[in-house]
């Protein structure tokens, strides 16, 4: 019930950093719309399944595996870039694995996904083989966009991954269009649209949210709120303290989640998605996370203090889940280490495969400019 806000408990953004406190709705559950259409899917089988899954050992170990793999993948990507094995822009997701994996687990294969330029591990999560993502970074013929896209433009029609996009906020109206098509075809799929925190100040974001809310389109807009648009603290450019408030202007369902915690993210998104399938209503989720690396490879991140970084790293999604697994006697340190080692090996195998791939033939320059 977000409209009745207690400013005392909500407006101090420092809380988020200094005390590691994520303000949630007064009752502590995911807030729904003020009109009473709140996300109270607790009786839904999806919700029950979500709660069950997020405490199930095998399920959690697989989630842990994925997060380790994605982190090791991005580390190898950075190393490869540093070794000048490829060029261009390169934005990695290190630190934000909890969101990527938590969201993906709440979706089904027929759901769509679209994102901005920080897209490597989201593409893998949606089903594109990591080796094809790595090959795409190298501009190889067997990359998921045959070397036409690169780091910012991963695509798979088969996996319904509609691209990384390089214009901040430009993907948001596209997502509204996919939502429109889902509704037009009377399907119950949804589209997840990732966007960065700074994208909420683009006009197209507002235009798209207005249309999605007015026409009730099944779009889940997820703000990857890592607090910085490149090197600019969101506080310096944005008049609101909590980014989910953007939804208030469009009377849109909305909420906030601690996306450093993969279990919380998965449960929250499962509830939201189950509700969306029934209502077709859009949702704006403010996902609080943190990127450990700079905006791109060329950014040393000097605008952040070591203390701030250290504070966030204590909430690391992989460490958090590891601690949970150990505390609940689902895994030992050795087992977790073995899982991480496997993640390293998977990432290495992706890079090794990409190393061996052919570059695109020159005639590809002229292909796919126009469709037949």
């Amino acid at each position: 019930m977000r409209l009745i806000l207690d400013r005392e408990s909500f407006d101090d953004k420092q809380l988020i950093v200094k005390r590691g406190h994520y303000p949630m709705s007064p009752k502590g559950n995911l807030p729904g719309k003020a009109s009473g259409n709140k996300s109270d899917g607790s009786k839904d089988s999806e919700k029950n399944m979500a709660s069950k899954n997020s405490q199930d050992k095998a399920w959690l170990l697989k989630v842990y595996q994925d997060m380790c793999y994605y982190r090791r993948f991005e580390e190898r990507v950075l190393q490869a870039y540093t070794k000048q094995k490829f060029a261009g822009f390169c934005h990695v997701h290190i630190g934000q694995e909890g969101l990527c994996v938590g969201v993906q687990r709440a979706l089904r294969d027929t759901d769509y996904m679209i994102t901005g330029y920080r897209s490597h591990t989201q593409a893998i999560a949606k089903g594109i083989p990591g080796k094809e993502v790595f090959a795409e970074l190298y501009g190889k013929a067997t990359g998921c966009a045959k070397g036409n896209g690169g780091s910012m433009h991963m695509f798979s029609k088969e996996k319904r991954f509609l691209g990384g996009h390089g214009i901040v906020g430009g993907q948001v109206p596209l997502a509204a269009g996919v939502g429109f098509a889902i509704k037009y075809e009377k399907k119950d799929d949804i589209i997840v649209c990732y966007l960065g925190d700074a994208a909420i100040n683009q006009g197209q974001f507002h235009e798209a949210l207005n249309m999605a809310a007015t026409w009730s389109l099944p779009c889940l807009f997820i703000i990857e709120n890592n607090r910085y648009g490149m090197g600019t603290d969101i506080k310096r450019t944005t008049s609101i303290d909590h980014l989910w408030k953007r939804a208030l202007a469009y009377d849109m369902d909305h909420g906030q989640v601690d996306a450093m915690n993969v279990q919380k993210t998965y449960e929250a998104v499962s509830t939201i998605v189950a509700n969306m399938r029934k209502t077709n209503r859009p949702y704006l989720l403010d996902a609080i996370c943190y990127r450990y690396k700079g905006h791109s490879v060329s950014d040393p991140g000097l605008y952040r203090s070591k203390e701030e970084m250290a504070e966030w790293m204590m909430k690391d999604p992989i460490i958090q889940l590891g601690e949970y697994l150990k505390k609940n006697k689902m895994a030992s340190d050795e087992e977790l280490k073995a899982i991480d080692t496997k993640g390293k090996e998977m990432a290495r195998a992706d890079e090794d495969w990409a190393d061996e791939q052919p570059i695109p033939p020159e005639e590809q320059v002229w292909q796919n400019v126009y469709a037949d």
Partner: protein
């Protein structure tokens, strides 16, 4: 053979195509309940219902992008820009997204969409409502750019544009919506990339498109009384461009005047002139000449607007110049 206005011909094309293919929808400002700002979509809401004929908010960037996203997953949107001046708000979606999607995704996501609406000056609409966009948009690989000069061409070309699997920029004109002309009762399509010879002649080739065709025809009519036979050719689609038709006409007349409602620099006319000098250099008996808008924002006053646009009093002296009649 029926006599239709240009707006009726375009409306008929959309209605026929929407009947044929349920994946086609029309979205834009005032297209549904108001029946279109210029009444091009008149009757479509009644015929196809509010799921397929949709009044948009005034958010050109937003609904252009919505169309692109819907096209990526299988629908075939027609997006009406109330005018292309407003369409410039949607250029990020048209240029950065629609045009590049197929290429960026290496052929995985095509964007079959038509962006249509009136282009260029009407009458005393001043600087922000009188622009042409074909020069800007033919610069962008991945887009097709289509114009038409009469109801029959508009009908056949719009149908082809809707069936095309690429983003098509379909440029209309406020000044032409009431223009009447014969349109065949039988369904027919005009392929994109095929121009049309509007008047045959052997002294000089006039190249014009959209509403400049009627300017060129009027000049040709006037000069015929002096014994000058102009050939008037209309490429119709500017991307792809019917270069064969242009070159064949140049080989016949050896003299060319290009008339366009645009500025001289980096325009479609400058590209056509460059192609002619490159491929027909030995055929030319005079430099290729161009008549364009004066390089100023459009003024409001009627006499000043007239002075800026390519009108007969500026076109005819240029035609005589390439004929060395001065």
């Amino acid at each position: 053979m029926a006599i239709l206005t240009y707006r009726e011909a375009l409306g008929r094309a959309m209605a026929e195509e929407m009947t044929r293919d349920p994946k086609i929808f029309l979205m834009g400002e005032e297209v549904a309940e108001y029946n279109g700002a210029y009444k091009v979509s008149k009757g479509l809401l009644d015929k196809f219902g509010p799921e397929r004929v949709i009044d948009s908010p005034i958010s050109e960037g937003g609904f252009a992008g919505l169309g692109v996203g819907a096209a990526m997953v299988g629908l075939r949107p027609i997006i009406e820009m109330m005018t292309w001046n407003f369409g410039i708000q949607g250029f990020d979606q048209i240029i950065n997204h629609a045009a590049k999607m197929l290429y960026m995704s290496a052929g995985q996501f095509s964007v079959p969409i038509v962006f249509r609406g009136p282009n260029g000056a009407a009458h005393m609409l001043a600087a922000q409502h009188s622009q042409t966009v074909e020069g800007m948009l033919t610069q962008v690989p991945g887009l097709k750019v289509v114009t038409s000069c009469c109801p029959a061409d508009g009908y056949g070309l719009l149908k082809s544009s809707i069936r095309d699997n690429n983003p098509v920029i379909f440029l209309e004109s406020e000044m032409m919506y009431a223009m009447k002309g014969e349109v065949d009762d039988a369904e027919h399509l005009i392929p994109l990339g095929v121009g049309s010879i509007k008047r045959e002649g052997h002294h000089v080739t006039l190249i014009a498109w959209a509403k400049m065709v009627s300017r060129a025809m009027a000049c040709a009519e006037q000069l015929a009384q002096e014994g000058i036979e102009c050939e008037v050719i209309d490429p119709r689609s500017l991307r792809p461009l019917d270069e064969d038709m242009i070159f064949n006409s140049v080989r016949k007349t050896h003299r060319v005047v290009i008339i366009e409602e645009a500025y001289q620099a980096a325009s479609v006319g400058s590209f056509i002139a460059e192609q002619i000098q490159r491929f027909c250099f030995d055929e030319l008996d005079a430099p290729v000449m161009r008549v364009s808008n004066e390089f100023v924002p459009m003024p409001y006053a009627e006499n000043l607007e007239h002075r800026v646009l390519p009108e007969a009093e500026r076109i005819i002296p240029v035609i005589k110049q390439v004929l060395y009649m001065d």
